[in-house]
Amino acid sequence: MKGPFDFTLGLADDALVAAQRLAEWSTRAPEMEEDIALSNIALDQLGAARLLLTYAGELEGAGRDEDALAFGRDDREFRNCLLVELPNGDFAVTMAKLLLLSAYQLPLYTALAACADERLAAIGGKARKESAYHLDHSSLWVKRLGDGTEESHRRMQAAVDEMWPYTHELFAADPAAPVDPATLRPDFDAVVSAVLDEATLTRPETTWAPAGGRDGVHTEHLSFLLAEMQVLHRAHPGARW
C-alpha cells in the first residue's frame, strides 16, 4: 500500500511529464492558434505539477522543494503513468493522449476537490476547471480528425489504437488513497466512448495493458525526457536560478 506522498507524487509527475511533452509543441503546432492553446494546456499542467510537488515535498518532510523533486530524481523515482511519457507522435497521437489524460484527470480532480485532505482538495478544485477545458479541446480535435478527411481519420484511429492500452494503468485500484482511481473508470469510459462514437472511431480490442509507472518502472522514453529536462539544473549543483 502506498502513502499520501506516493499518491501525490504520482499525480504531480503525471502533470509535470505531460507539461514537458506538450511544451515540445511550442513553435511546431499545425496552426498558430493551436500553438497558443497547447502552450496554455502545458502551463496548466505545469502549474498543477508545481502545487502537487510542493505539497509532496511537505508530506515527505525531507526538505525537498518542487525543483529538488523535479530535477533531482532519476527515472526510477518518477511515479507518473506511462501514457504521459510516450513521445508526442503526430498531432493525432498528441490529441489521443490529451483526451485520455484529461478524461482521467477531470473526475480525479473533481473527486479530490471533495476529499478530506484540505490541500489536495484545494488543488483539485483549481485543477478540475482546467481539466474540463483540456477535455473540451481534445474532444473537439478528436472529432475533427476522426470525422475530417480520410487521412485524418486513418491517423486518428491509429493514434487511439496505439494509446488505448496505456489507459488501464490509470485505474489500478488503490483503496487507501484519498481517491481510489478504480472508482473513476465508469466516468472515464462514458466520456471517452461518447467522443469516439461521434468521431466515428472505435476502441481497439486488445488485452495488452502495459503498466509500472506508479512503481517507477517506465518505458525507455522517460529517461531521455528527464535527461533533457534536468541537464542544466544538474550541471550547476546548488545554484539558484
Binding site: G148, T149, M229, A239
Partner: protein, 354 residues
C-alpha cells in the same frame, strides 16, 4: 519583439512605458475629438488624408489612403508579425531545459505571448486588405523578411536573459513611437504589444541579474551571453542614418518618428546604467560619457555583418526558415481535416434546417 533591421527601408521609434501610456491617452483624446465627418463628394481625398494625418488623428481601415501608404504599412506590419512568429524559436529552444519550474513557466508563457502578438499583428495587417494566408506564404517563400536578430543562436540559458534584456529592450525602444503611428489598428496593436514586451524585458533582466550574482559558472555564462548579443542588438536599429534609404515619406506619414541612429543612441544610454546594476560589462572599450553630447560615445555594430545576415547568411537563417516551413507542412493534414469537418457540420445543420 522586433527590430528595424529587415532591410534598408523600414521603421523606427523610441521611448518607454510612460510613453506608451501617453500614446494611449493621446489615442483616446483623438477619438474623443472626433473627426470632421467624411469627406464631401467634391473633396480631394488626398487632401483629406493629409489633414487627418496632420491633425494627429488616425487613419482607419475604411478611409481612403495613398496606395504607397497602404503598401508600406502592409510590409511593415507583416514583417513585424513574422518577427514575432520566428522570434519564438530562439527562446523556445530553452523551454525543455529551463533550470527551474518557475523559469520554465515564465518562458513558456513568454513564447506564447509572442505567438499572440503575431496573430494580433496579422489581424492588423488584414485590415489593409490582405489575408493572413497570403502573408504567411510570403514569409515561407522568403519574399518578406523578419528581424535578423533571430538568426543568431541561443547557446546557453543566459541567452534567454540577454534576449529579454537587450533584444526586447531594443524592440521596445523601436516600438514605443509606433504607438503614435497614424494608422489606427497598428497604433492600437503596438500599445498592447509594448506593455507585454516591457514585462518580458524585466523578466530577462531578472534572469541575468540572478546569474550575474550567482556561482562563478553562472557569472561567466551571463557575461558570455552579453558579449554575443550586444552588437547584434545595436544592429536591430538598422543601418546608420547616412546609409539609410528610409523615406522622409514614412516620417511625413507619421509612421516613423525618429531616425535609426537616434533610437540606437537612446538604447545605448538606457543600457549603460542597467549593465552596472546587473554587474555585467558591455563589451565596448570605447564606451564613455560625452559631456558635450550628454550621451555615451560607443562603437558601432558591424553593418557588413548585418547586411550578410539580412541576405540570408547568418548562423541560423536556414534553420529558422526550415523549422517554420516544416511546422506549416506537417500541419497541413490537420488544417485540411478541420476544414472538412466544419463543412460536414455545416451541411448537417442545413439538412436539419431544411
Amino acid at each position: 519583439m522586433y527590430g528595424n533591421d529587415f532591410s534598408a527601408e523600414d521603421t523606427a521609434g523610441g521611448g518607454l512605458l510612460g510613453e506608451v501610456e501617453a500614446a494611449e491617452a493621446a489615442l483616446r483624446e483623438a477619438a474623443a475629438r472626433g473627426r470632421r465627418g467624411a469627406p464631401g463628394p467634391d473633396q480631394d481625398l488626398a487632401a483629406y488624408f493629409a489633414e487627418v494625418v496632420e491633425a494627429d488623428q488616425k487613419i482607419e481601415p475604411r478611409d481612403w489612403m495613398p496606395e504607397a501608404y497602404r503598401k508600406t504599412l502592409i510590409r511593415q506590419i507583416a514583417q513585424h508579425a513574422h518577427s514575432e512568429i520566428i522570434g519564438m524559436q530562439p527562446e523556445g529552444n530553452w523551454i525543455s531545459r529551463a533550470p527551474s519550474l518557475k523559469r520554465k513557466a515564465i518562458l513558456l508563457a513568454k513564447v506564447q505571448d509572442e505567438a499572440g502578438h503575431g496573430l494580433y499583428l496579422y489581424a492588423a495587417a488584414e485590415t489593409l486588405g490582405i489575408s493572413r494566408d497570403e502573408l504567411v506564404d510570403m514569409l515561407l517563400n522568403g519574399r518578406q523578411k523578419y528581424s535578423s536578430i533571430f538568426n543568431y543562436p541561443t547557446l546557453t540559458w543566459a541567452d534567454v536573459g540577454a534576449i529579454g534584456w537587450l533584444v526586447d529592450g531594443a524592440a521596445i525602444v523601436n516600438q514605443v513611437p509606433l504607438c503614435r503611428c497614424s494608422y489606427g489598428p497598428y497604433a492600437r496593436a503596438m500599445i498592447r504589444v509594448c506593455k507585454e514586451e516591457s514585462f518580458h524585458q524585466r523578466q530577462g533582466y531578472e534572469i541575468l541579474h540572478t546569474l550575474a550574482h550567482g556561482t562563478p559558472g553562472q557569472k561567466a555564462m551571463a557575461q558570455d551571453a552579453v558579449n554575443r548579443w550586444w552588437y547584434p542588438s545595436l544592429a536591430m536599429f538598422g543601418p546608420p542614418d547616412t546609409d539609410s534609404t528610409h523615406s522622409a515619406q514614412s516620417m511625413a506619414w507619421k509612421i516613423k518618428r525618429f531616425s535609426n541612429d537616434e533610437l540606437r543612441q537612446r538604447f545605448v544610454d538606457m543600457c549603460v546604467g542597467q549593465a552596472e546594476v546587473l554587474g555585467v560589462t558591455i563589451p565596448d572599450p570605447a564606451l564613455r560619457w560625452n559631456d558635450e553630447r550628454q550621451s555615451y560615445d560607443y562603437t558601432q555594430p558591424d553593418y557588413d555583418e548585418l547586411m550578410r545576415v539580412i541576405k540570408g547568411e547568418g548562423p541560423c537563417n536556414r534553420q529558422r526558415m526550415e523549422h517554420r516551413r516544416r511546422a506549416h507542412a506537417e500541419g497541413a493534414w490537420v488544417r485540411d481535416a478541420a476544414t472538412a469537418y466544419a463543412a460536414k457540420q455545416a451541411a448537417k445543420r442545413e439538412k436539419v434546417a431544411a
